[in-house]
């Protein structure tokens, strides 16, 4: 760089990574199958040499290990804490599969086509083949990282997920974890008892229908040969009452076009789907709720959503809001994203 010599020194976290590698090698003795053994070998290689390629390989083997009784994942995975969204934080978890819970999610997924047809759009706006998510419910034994999530969808390597898909995981005991004497501001006193009783069950139903929701919806696309994946003359946009005029061109994705808001937008879509589907009694029944109990679970779900919307205000930056030409405010908001979370 302008003549100044630069020396790159490798070996951050050498001691910790060596310890992790040593234990990963020992774990091989207890692996349930060949996929797990290969995964552990790849982890070892990655932790000793620092190779991301080796870690990617570990994730390929991990995805091939379908339906293990003990689920794990290790590595530098989530980039939430890096302002540039590039550097990942180390995490490691070990969890046991909750077979009963997983079966419930499985039933939901099996009847997905029937449930998805109830969403507020016509058939032309839905995928021909519903993306059936691989969905497991886990009970965490240990989760080592700065922030323990309630649900995960990994790996994050999009080059791998395009080819092999991903694993969707709901962390049951994280969802139901309650602090002693936890308070729930904004819930009316008359609702508190019901809320405490059904908060976890309703969140379970919400997570299930939410994840299902992520796999729904058709994106109108044009391929490299110019061919559209929909009938442009006959597909009417309900908002304009005219034929659909815009679609994704080659190289464009939802994330690339919607940019800064795409993550939150998609979460909103999935949460809306959760609320729109969960009031159907046959869906509540899959989770084991019927009659009055089902109605209570539904009520608490809607209450909880209202509360979450209110509590979230903490993260809105009121001071940055200014009145300006709409196009400018749009650009500024997109860049700054007025919501910090």
């Amino acid at each position: 760089m302008d003549g100044t010599p630069l020396q790159l020194v490798y070996g951050d976290f050498k001691a910790e990574m060596a310890k992790a590698a040593e234990n990963v090698a020992k774990a091989k003795e207890y692996a349930a199958n060949d996929h797990q053994r290969k995964m552990l070998d790849a982890y070892h290689e990655s932790f000793i040499t620092g190779s991301i390629e080796a870690h990617m390989d570990s994730q390929r083997h991990w995805l091939h290990d379908i339906g293990p009784a003990v689920e794990t994942n290790l590595g530098f995975i989530e980039t939430y804490r890096d302002p540039h969204g590039i550097r990942a934080e180390f995490e490691g978890f070990v969890a046991m599969v909750n077979k009963e819970q997983t079966r419930k999610f499985g039933k939901l997924v099996d009847r997905a086509p029937q449930f998805v047809s109830r969403l507020p759009w016509s058939q032309e706006f839905e995928r021909e083949t519903i993306n059936k998510p691989d969905f497991t419910s886990l009970e965490v034994l240990a989760f080592a990282t700065s922030g323990v999530p309630a649900g995960i969808n990994i790996p994050n390597y999009s080059n791998i997920t395009q080819v092999l898909g991903s694993k969707n995981v709901s962390l049951g005991n994280v969802i139901s974890a309650q602090a002693p004497n936890e308070k729930f501001p904004f819930i009316a006193p008359k609702d508190l008892e019901l809320y405490r009783k059904y908060r976890n069950p309703s969140f379970e139903v919400q997570v299930g229908t939410h994840e299902l929701g992520h796999g729904t919806g058709k994106l109108f696309e044009q391929d490299a040969q110019g061919k559209l994946n929909f009938d442009q003359e006959k597909t009417i946009n309900p908002l304009t009452n005219a034929p659909v005029q815009t679609w994704y061109k080659p190289g464009q994705t939802f994330n690339s076009l919607f940019e800064a808001v795409s993550g939150s937008y998609e979460e909103c879509r999935a949460e809306c789907i959760a609320l729109t589907l969960s009031h159907h009694t046959d869906i509540l029944e899959i989770f084991g709720y019927t009659g009055q109990e089902a109605e209570d679970v539904l009520y608490v779900m809607y209450l909880n959503m209202a509360r979450a919307g209110l509590v979230g205000l903490e993260f809105y930056d009121m001071s940055a809001k200014k009145v300006a030409w709409y196009e400018i405010i749009l650009k500024i908001a997109q860049i700054l994203n007025l919501w910090t979370v």
Partner: protein, 130 residues
Amino acid sequence: MQARYAILRAMLNAGQGFVSIERTGEAGLEIRMDRSKIRSVGAPAVADLLAKLQIYKATADAENGVRFYLEATSVPEDWSELRDIVIKNKQPRKQFVQGNTLIENGQVVLREYEPSAKGMIQSFVEREKL
């Protein structure tokens, strides 16, 4: 956060006595929801928001879609007071106290700790020793 706020707004805007946020006392808020109107008012309001989100996404309409979403998640000036109350009622961040496993007489033993600062520290100290 942003997403759930948009849904709250949609439910509030549906009117028809479905849900409201009432001030209580000096610095309190209460959500009042008529549960008998979930299927008739609440769910359709959310479905309406959902349909719009879906259509903009499906048709790659980022211009209208982003504008719509930013509008749906914008917080009006007169909500400043509400936000202040929300912050006053902020609960302490939750911490997970995780257990440890060890081998005793050839058996795996799970050791758990009390959900308190003391339990948290103890779990870390014992984890280092293992």
